[in-house]
């Protein structure tokens, strides 16, 4: 079985897990959920680190470094702003 097919399994199953997890989210959490999920999509940072870290031509390093900066903004900013939002939600009036 190829790596590709395994990847496809991971993809399909993760999509299903995502659908099941999010289905019942209350509207109050829509924004934090979106922004938290958005930060998770910054996982591409790992890919960027691998691409730049393994070295290559100048173009690869330039594009890869830009990807590192972009993804880090996404990750750091995303988690922090989600935290900021969530800490505003209060039960008591």
């Amino acid at each position: 079985m190829g790596v590709w097919i395994l990847g496809l399994y991971v993809f399909v199953l993760s999509m299903m897990v995502g659908f099941e997890l999010i289905r019942k989210v209350p509207p109050t959490l829509h924004t934090p959920l979106m922004s938290g999920a958005n930060a998770i999509s910054g996982i591409t940072l790992v890919g960027a680190l691998l691409v730049v870290g393994e070295g290559g031509g100048r173009l690869t390093v330039i594009l890869g470094t830009a990807a590192v900066v972009f993804a880090t903004i996404n990750v750091v900013g995303g988690f922090l702003v989600t935290h900021r939002m969530l800490s505003m939600f209060r039960k008591q009036d």
Binding site: P27, M34, I43, A48, L50, G53, N74, G78
Partner: protein, 458 residues
């Protein structure tokens, strides 16, 4: 560090992402969930950095530091009212990064034929990631009022978008056949950039909740595609989770407007603008002022406040909180009715009111709010229009079938609004002309703070 340790760290990280996302779906556990997801990310990044394949740390460190500083500053300094724009910006960076990763990996392999699967995944990554990037940039421009919030359309727009999409498909096929030089990748990126602009520019401000959640989904799918290019299951997993989450939100938003995604994407709502004139009989509105409304509210037993985008624009959330407190101390039951697409992103009103310290337990969703509308003395509409428009109940209306907050079933309705101008959908609102409706023409912030003052003097 041996490779299997890194791989194992990725597995733990993937597990924590799933758990974190699960916790993010309940108000009590959400902060924990966010921290867990952040921890998962940190684990994955540290494990990657310790990977023995990595040979050059200098540029990595510089990139990480730069990104951290920019991201942290944005997250700390941007005002809560600008949250939709900020989410769009972060989204765009994520999508852009995935496109760059896909391209950089192909280039690293130095033009060697990467194989059909990897090249195909790279094509998808570049396409979806770049569309996310430029689409988010346009969404940011609209939300920040740098671009008009009205739909921008020009002749043959759909044809042009369609042709660009076909060109991208052809490019993807060429990539799969082994054409993966820098020029090819640049052409793909350039066309996708244009496509992203063309897809978002015809969508109006009121449809932004759909756009923002769809782009959120795209940024996840782009990360997954990058994962396929690199053969990294963690990227595939995390990206797919986000892709699914974004799709669900998108679907929820569409349902809240009773419109299909295709209709939002290509409908250019409110652009053509057929203003339903309808019965032009006696169309008189009853004007009111702070004093009268304060009496009404102060002696009511149940008040429902319906916030809309106008509340965000006027930044009246703190005044609303103050008024709520005053009324509640008089024994008036005050709740908020939140329409799913009120504002410019999913959950916009909830975040806005949370910022002003309004308890989330006072925020009712559409069903709960409507269920209790009959025993409501006063419904106060603050800066909302289409989401309370009874026209939606008529089958021939432009917003037909859109679920609305049934404020016209409350005993009294007060609409705080700057003028009689129609809402985003460009159709008149019969609610304003009802006998039980009082129109309070004013800026939302001024109106609410006047009301608070008057209520205090009762």
């Amino acid at each position: 560090m041996p490779p299997f340790v890194v791989e194992f760290a990725y597995v733990v990280s993937g597990f924590l992402f799933v758990l974190g996302l699960k916790r993010l779906s309940s108000p009590v556990t959400a902060p924990q969930g966010n921290a867990m997801a952040a921890g998962a990310m940190l684990l994955a990044v540290v494990a990657t950095l310790l990977d023995q394949q990595i040979i050059s740390y200098g540029t990595l460190a510089a990139g990480l530091v730069a990104g951290t500083v920019i991201g942290a500053l944005l997250a700390r300094l941007v005002r809560m009212t600008a949250m939709p724009q900020l989410v769009a910006v972060f989204n765009g960076f994520g999508g852009g990064a995935s496109a760059l990763v896909a391209a950089a990996e192909l280039l690293r392999e130095g033009g060697a034929n990467p194989g059909a699967a990897e090249a195909g995944a790279a094509a998808v990554g570049i396409l979806v990631g770049t569309v996310t990037f430029s689409g988010s940039a346009v969404a940011f421009g609209k939300l920040q009022d740098l671009l008009t919030q009205r739909p921008v359309t020009f002749p043959l727009q759909k044809l042009v978008s369609g042709l660009i999409f076909l060109a991208l498909l052809a490019g993807a096929v060429m990539m799969i056949l082994g054409e993966v030089g820098p020029e090819m990748l640049l052409a793909m990126g350039g066309l996708a950039f244009l496509l992203g602009i063309l897809l978002v520019i015809p969508i109006g401000g009121a449809d932004m909740p759909v756009v923002v959640s769809l782009l959120n989904s795209y940024s996840g799918l782009a990360a997954s595609a990058a994962g396929f290019v690199l053969g990294n299951p963690l990227l595939i997993l995390a990206g797919a989770l986000v892709g699914a989450a974004g799709l669900i939100l998108t679907q929820l938003m569409c349902r809240a407007m009773n419109r299909s995604l295709a209709n939002v994407a290509f409908g250019a709502f409110g652009g053509g603008g057929t203003v339903a004139a309808g019965d032009d009989g006696e169309r008189v509105v009853r004007r009111t002022g702070a004093e009268e409304v304060a009496m009404l509210l102060g002696y009511a037993s149940r008040v429902v406040i319906v916030p809309g985008y106008g509340l965000a624009v006027a930044q009246a959330q703190h005044e609303v909180k103050k008024l709520t407190g005053l009324l509640r101390s008089r024994g008036v039951e005050v709740v908020f009715a939140i329409h799913p697409v009120a504002g410019r992103m999913p959950g916009h009103m909830n975040v806005l009111l949370a910022e002003a310290d309004v308890s989330y337990e006072l925020l009712l969703d559409l069903d709960d709010a409507n269920g209790a509308m009959e025993r409501t003395d006063v419904a106060v509409v603050v800066g909302a229009n289409d989401v309370v428009n009874p026209e939606a109940r008529k089958p021939d209306s432009a917003i037909a079938g859109m679920p609305i907050v049934d404020v016209d079933r409350a005993a009294n309705v007060v609409v705080i609004k700057r003028s009689l101008s129609p809402g985003f959908a460009g159709i008149d609102n019969p609610l304003f002309y009802l006998d039980r409706t009082l129109m309070f023409f004013s800026d939302a912030r001024e109106a609410i703070s006047d009301l608070a003052r008057e209520v205090k003097e009762l």
